[in-house]
Amino acid sequence: MNSEIPKVERISDIDIMTAISGKLSNGIPVYGFYKGEQKVMRMDFIFPAGKLFGNRVFEAVLASAVLREGSTKSSYEVIEEALDYHGAFMEHRIHHYWSKFSYYFPNEYAEELVQIAAEILKMPAIKKSSLDFLKVQVRQNIAVQLEKPSYLARQHMKRLIWGENHPLGYMPDIEKLEDITHTGLQQFHSQHYLQKSPVIILSGAFPDSVFKYLEQGFSDLNYYKSVVPDLEQKIAKPQLYRFKTKRVFQSALTLAKPVPGPGEKDYFDIKILNMILGGYFGSRLMKNIREDKGYTYGIYSQIVPSVAGSFMYINSEVGKDFSESAMNEIEKEMKHLQTELISRDELDMVKNYYSGELLSLFDGPYKHAGVLSSSLEFKLKMHYYKDFLRYMQGISPERIQETARKYLDFNKCIRVVVGA
């Protein structure tokens, strides 16, 4: 074989599909990414009903769960049987701002699926008995999760970042579940699902007729714009916080720091810096703490953008004897990026890798729908990613170092260790 590695072609641009866009007669926006040899499609309903909303802990999450427990017209069994019979899959994701319901199904059933979705989302029964059993399931699930050091670390971190009384900052206190009533959830549903407009995104091989079905199903909703609630955030002092757990084989580490968000100054730079530090398998953190020291099975950094405030996180689970050493190595890597310029070779590597990742981000109609739904809360156009690609390919080692000096101060990170 040729012992020379084949030449690599750089990605100079990414093809981004332009969404079909329209509105229902009541103003509800509908976007579409059409593509498909296979006769299947996806339909996303994105409501501004995420974890930031609601007056009580768990409220937004339970509201989205209880929606799926039957409508005022049909029982849970009838609805679920209809979904399954039509080969449909439902996925729900809830973030800070959005609560998103996604339906995947063969496109020949578009009419039935829009009807079912309209019934579930607009007319949920929200009965006390359904809520009671949901609470049992949630309690059970949380009890299992609380056994995991990584889960505990994340929960402690949320509390430290947002404050105990902030809807994003609460610890999963099982007692607080009792405060949630089915009438409270009915109110939540009315306020956040019926009185604010969802965004609808279609992707795949959706037939033209689906617009007509959506009009029939959803044009009776009121269209009001949603507002991000103005909440007091109580961020804790950046230092090390240790918590005990009975699970003794590994400790969980997590670090967090506020960073710029999408559309803000330096956002592109911090995204690139994050990639270098811990965003991919060949990152500084992985190379050191996993490949060189063997302390862990995985260590990553990521930026979680949010209208409530964007943060960079570093997460890992390390062998129980290694938590202090691992923290020291993380600090070393951050300092390293501040004191030494990244080599051209390494920067080229990151640029190529990141370009490939961006290409993959737009690989197909479902991926496009995903990108659009995460861009909505920041009011960004999808072609923003083309700007990012161009900026990333032109960034210099000096600019990386500057960004590290500005944002990568280990002592400004809140640090949590959950261990024996």
């Binding site: 074989m1 990605i11 080969g87 063997g294 370009s355 993959s360």
Partner: protein
């Protein structure tokens, strides 16, 4: 329909190509026909450890990942009982980099002491993270030990113990590589925005001269029929009781495989499934109840896992499960219900195969089973299952005397 073309090199490497112009990416999937099933019972976990070692570098490149990343690509791998599978996904114009890398590590892998030590440590951390430090982490191993007395499926892919992984040394790794990592023990499948004839040319250039090896014949005992129930109990510091029941089922190529897959769907796939509506939502016997099949090549298991509601005893929970299974065995399923699970299975298959990564893997996997074109007969096999098949299979396989039961008790 997934169209593809294939060629086999003189050294036995089979290459399959599915052209897909709808994506800017290409996936290179290299499947080695070996898994935990091929391991020495004294050195279990080796196939999985070796998977890690495959990223450790060759005489040409210091490590696998950086070369692929430089080409804008990403990769992953997994090991299970039957296969070790590697896939690389990258911008289609750089597919040759992936081919070059796979050929390079197939023949030039560096197995030095440092690399072996680090990966052993990483794998031991993985073992701790997934099996020791998690509630119910050993449930899979417990069930395997009970259900399989002599067949190699009796151990988990991660291995039986940290001690066995610790024992692995360079000689063991070299021997393993010689036996299993050869072109005639591998299948290469590519799916994406590529040109098949170009791929075949590149494959010949990069893999053509790699020598075939003598692959050891499968030499392990088959499990004999189970004809009485097996039970075991474990008590641990976990939040809830769990019950796990495993039933022996036929091999991947057996006619009944598809029936058993649909049975697991009837029982627990989707919210309108029997377990979820009757035993979870309505009767509140369980807060969670699942059923799935191994999907293994040799005869595998159909497994039912459940978390009983806190006021329900493990005995009563077990009773409830077997009552449902008896119902399935004694009453013919309604037309609509069978059609429902078929619709879901077919829809699922369609969605899964929209993705180049899954297409490439499936092509390689079906080739391993005997012929890649089996990928296009899957749908028909599900469609062919009739009501009577369900009843017969339930009677035959879902018997108490064919079951292994784990009562995983929470310490009070």
């Amino acid at each position: 329909m997934i169209p593809f073309t294939s060629e086999t090199l003189s050294n036995g490497l089979t290459i399959l190509v599915n052209e897909d112009k709808s994506t800017p990416m290409a996936v290179c999937n290299m499947l080695y026909k070996l898994g935990a099933v091929n391991e020495d019972p004294e050195i279990t976990g080796l196939a999985h450890l070796f998977e890690h070692l495959m990223f450790g570098g060759t005489k040409h490149v210091p490590d696998f990942d950086s070369v692929l990343q430089y080409a804008g690509g990403d990769n992953n791998a997994f090991t299970n009982n039957d296969v070790t599978n590697y896939y690389d996904i990258l911008p289609a114009q750089n597919i040759e980099t992936a081919l070059w890398l796979e050929a390079d590590r197939m023949q030039n892998l560096k197995l030095d002491a440092q690399s072996i030590k680090v990966q052993k440590d990483v794998v031991m951390e993985e073992f701790k993270e997934t099996h020791l430090n998690q509630a119910y982490g050993d449930l899979d191993q417990l069930l395997r030990s009970l259900a399989y007395k002599i067949h190699p499926y009796r151990w988990s892919t991660i291995g039986l113990s940290l001690e066995q992984i610790q024992k692995v040394d360079r000689d063991i790794c070299m021997d393993f590589r010689k036996r299993y990592y050869a072109p005639n023990n591998a299948i290469l499948a590519i799916s994406g925005n590529v040109n098949a004839s170009e791929i075949f040319m590149m494959a010949e250039e990069h893999f053509g001269h790699i020598k075939a090896s003598e692959i050891p014949a499968k030499d392990y005992p088959q499990e004999s029929l189970q004809n009485e129930q097996r039970r075991t109990e474990k008590e641990d510091d976990v939040p809830h009781d769990v019950i796990s029941v495993g039933f022996h089922m036929p091999s991947r190529l057996h006619d009944d495989y598809y029936t058993m897959d649909l049975i697991s769907d009837i029982l627990a796939n989707g919210n309108s499934s029997r377990f979820k509506t009757k035993l979870v939502k309505q009767a509140h016997v369980f807060t969670e109840l699942d059923a799935y099949i191994y999907g293994s090549i040799d005869p595998g298991l159909l497994i039912i896992n459940g978390y009983p509601e806190s006021s329900v005893s493990l005995n009563d929970a077990e009773q409830a499960i077997f009552e449902e299974l008896d119902l399935l065995a004694n009453t013919e399923i309604a037309d609509r219900e069978l059609q429902k699970v078929k619709n879901k299975a077919l829809s699922s298959w369609m969605f899964i195969n929209q993705n180049a990564k899954n297409k490439a893997f499936h092509l390689a996997y079906f080739e391993m089973l005997g012929n890649a074109s089996l990928i296009n007969t899957e749908e028909e096999k599900y469609r062919e299952v009739v009501e009577n098949d369900i009843q017969k299979a339930a009677k035959r396989y879902l018997r108490r005397t064919n079951s292994s039961v784990i009562n995983y008790k929470a310490k009070k």
